[in-house]
């Protein structure tokens, strides 16, 4: 990482594992659970959040000295809402079906607590470049969990990845299905998202004992 100083690269790398927004800080969970039945939707959601948080953090950090602290929540909400409208309109224009699939959850990026959390905790007190790195890092940490959950739910639930049949064809019984494997349709239902994230937390905390609660 010659491009970034050591301090700066920590801003990106920390949230990816030991300070992950979802599994450690418990932020931004709603959308992580609801749209992860397919890998594609998870990736689009992750990219949208990376865009909104990266740009939003820079904007808030540029305005941090002129925002009166009493109305800062409303100012922050307006900035996020404007960015989310851009994402929503772009998706509607270029990926209409996907935007239907994500339904209200694109709109709910506005109330994703990671975004407000980073604005409050970081962008209001740091310069634009560092805020940008922090935003990208945290959104990527969120994206990593999303992609992991989406990967397992789509693979085990419908036997596909990004729509490609990686485990063979369930109707003509090729590949894994030939030896008696069946899709676990339960993985596509919403409760399994909770359980998958619970298991991710379990794995992460058994690897890093410092993270165990109480």
């Amino acid at each position: 990482m010659a491009l970034l100083s050591k301090k700066d690269s920590r801003l990106i790398l920390d949230p990816l594992a030991d300070n992950n927004p979802i599994t450690i800080q418990v932020l931004g969970i709603c959308s992580a659970l609801a749209i992860t039945a397919q890998l594609k939707a998870s990736i689009v959601m992750a990219i949208s959040v990376i865009f909104v948080l990266g740009v939003g953090n820079v904007v808030i950090s540029l305005m941090r000295n002129i925002i009166p602290s009493k109305i800062r929540i409303i100012v922050q909400l307006v900035v996020v809402a404007a960015l989310v409208i851009i994402v929503d309109q772009v998706l509607k224009a270029f990926a209409y079906e996907l935007s239907k699939e994500l339904s209200v959850f694109i709109g709910l990026i506005i109330t994703n607590c990671i975004i407000m959390g980073r604005f409050e905790a970081f962008a209001l007190g740091n310069g634009p470049w560092r805020s940008f790195l922090d935003g990208i890092g945290n959104a990527a940490g969120y994206g990593v969990i999303l992609v992991i959950v989406g990967f397992f739910r789509e693979l085990l639930g419908s036997g596909t990845l990004l729509g490609f049949k990686v485990l063979g064809d369930p109707i003509t019984k090729t590949g894994l299905y030939a030896i008696g494997y069946e899709n676990n349709g339960f993985m596509l239902l919403s409760p399994m998202a909770l359980i998958v994230i619970g298991i991710i937390i379990w794995v992460q905390r058994s690897k890093n004992k410092d993270l165990i609660e109480e």
């Binding site: 709603c30 809402a81 709109g107 607590c113 409760p191 058994s206 109480e214």
Partner: protein, 245 residues
Amino acid sequence: MEHIELFFKSIFIDNMVFATFLGMCSYLAVSKKVATAVGLGAAVIFVLAVTVPINWLLDQYILRDGALSWLGEEYASYDLSFLSFILFIATIATMVQLVEIVVEKFSPSLYNSLGIFLPLIAVNCAILGGSLFMQSREIPTLGLALNYGISSGIGWFLAILAIAAIREKIRYSNVPAPLRGLGITFIITGLMAIGFMSFGGMLTGGDDTTSLEGNPENVGMESEQIQQENIETEETIKVSTITKQ
């Protein structure tokens, strides 16, 4: 009858926490004690009951395609629906501010115990989600919108009350160390969600798929229909421009 159906549907079948995962952050963070959970749940019911009808009016008379026709003929073709995120969130932020002032005045102890989470109701996705689902499910009347706000609030209240009660008791059981706290809460919520899925057959006798909101097949069909409609409207627009020329 319509009201009763919507009431039970939004509490049990489309429960905000267990079916659509809205408001999970505060649900996980404030559910350590029953007392604070009850306070936050009540605040959420109140805010939803106020904001959903207000946003219904905004949607009906300002935002949706052709909603401005009450202003006059020339405004009938305006479609401001892209502004709905900003207007909805502004309404919500104002109402939350109001609730904060009221709670601070009448119950300072509750105000102190809720702490940072009261202003955070403004960014609780359950609240914005309530309004967005109200919009996307096209709830027809103001009365039904009020009903929807209150009943989905009650659903959220029930969920946080239940998990808080479980978490108070689970302290005495022997959970594997890495799973303690957040991990086990996630898994319990998942199991509760499986339980709540069985309410799906309550109103329809079991042959309906309304509880499977995220079912990809349903969504695909819907979007195909919408695309066809879009193509049709595009054609009519082309025709109208040609005739103008």
